[in-house]
Homo-oligomer: 136 residues x 4
Amino acid sequence: MTNATCEHCDVHEPHEAHEVHEIHETHDQQGDRDQHRECDQHAAGGYIEDQKRIIARLSRIEGQIRGIKQMAQDGEYCIDILTQISAANSALKSVALILLDDHLNHCVRQAAAEGGDVADDKLDEASAAIARLVRS
Amino acid sequence: MTNATCEHCDVHEPHEAHEVHEIHETHDQQGDRDQHRECDQHAAGGYIEDQKRIIARLSRIEGQIRGIKQMAQDGEYCIDILTQISAANSALKSVALILLDDHLNHCVRQAAAEGGDVADDKLDEASAAIARLVRS
Amino acid sequence: MTNATCEHCDVHEPHEAHEVHEIHETHDQQGDRDQHRECDQHAAGGYIEDQKRIIARLSRIEGQIRGIKQMAQDGEYCIDILTQISAANSALKSVALILLDDHLNHCVRQAAAEGGDVADDKLDEASAAIARLVRS
Amino acid sequence: MTNATCEHCDVHEPHEAHEVHEIHETHDQQGDRDQHRECDQHAAGGYIEDQKRIIARLSRIEGQIRGIKQMAQDGEYCIDILTQISAANSALKSVALILLDDHLNHCVRQAAAEGGDVADDKLDEASAAIARLVRS
């Protein structure tokens, strides 16, 4: 069942991360608001094409942070640690920008095509996420 | 020997992270430029009072990043991942600001008191680190 | 003529900022790519409801910058100038986030509803703008 | 009188931005805390060598903001306005970094050389300003 296209949201790609069947049951059981969220969660699909790249980058960042912690444990020079923190910050922002781009191109695009409340919710949610990122 | 004050840089605190004896040998063996760097590295002392707090925070951030990677592996919803990335970004900046504050209060302060080239080098280095952080 | 709805892009609101007639001429004269751009430019409509608020905020920021310049001319204290610059930076980001929200809710939403190349172009453009803002 | 060196703070450069005589009167009239502030304010000297460059950059940024406001008044395209806002943001940060560098190299350096409470106050103040900038 996993590779079928969701009958509710016909735009997005088939995917492997969720049991589609399960999701359809959820569609039946839950209210409108949750359906929208399920629908896109399902479309984690948002970043499914970039998933491997995103995971690889996050692994590298995890390693960077572990390295920075080790530097602090070894009492290494403040400035060298700061340099690594700035680099990790930039790397995190890059991952965030890939995710955002995927989110706009899949989840938001699909919701905008559906229109109505689904579109309103998705767009408000995206704006709020962008604001958090810009101010972080 | 570890708790003695370095005879070369009499301002900073005694510290545990390095073998003072070893460092003094380095002082004897290396040129002026390296002495300055050793001296402050030694004064990892810059952040020695905050070392535990900094390591604890970096451990938490490492856990956050691992959690974010797991979310991406589980195909979780883009926006939820973005929210966690923004939080990790802010947390990293906070650690950087603690380190910078310690660096200014120990390494830069001591170098400024020494004056001359040592002061020039330390101040240029601090400015460059701040610029990298602001732009990261 | 100014308050009429553009016959080309029937989604957006009528607006005052452009001569619709003029724009339609442009529609006739230019290729597809430019039409899309015209169409949304026209839909400055993106932020037309917030236009007054945005202009008011930009006026205030302009005044802030003029004040900061005066502080520098008067030789005022570095830290006081830095505080004002940080405040102006935050204020600029807030205006940018209002504009982005409007852009997503109007231009991007409308383009996503149209689908195809129009949607692709608008979404790529929005992602690039977000990246510039996040890294600025 | 303007070009004389302040007898109170013998480290910094002579300057033109303040009436030294006036400042010395203030020194006599006010308590310790204010003396320190006066002293460095006086050492707006912090950025006196870069003052023209800083004012020129702020003039350019003021013009940028005025241009952005005009774009909003003309109903120009959201993305074009966002691009200009990101550019103004970067330009503001650059001015802030020049000011910070000057502040560290003059005010903070001088205070650190004096030591004691003066140094403590200046370093805390600088750290707080850096934190505001990093988070703005």
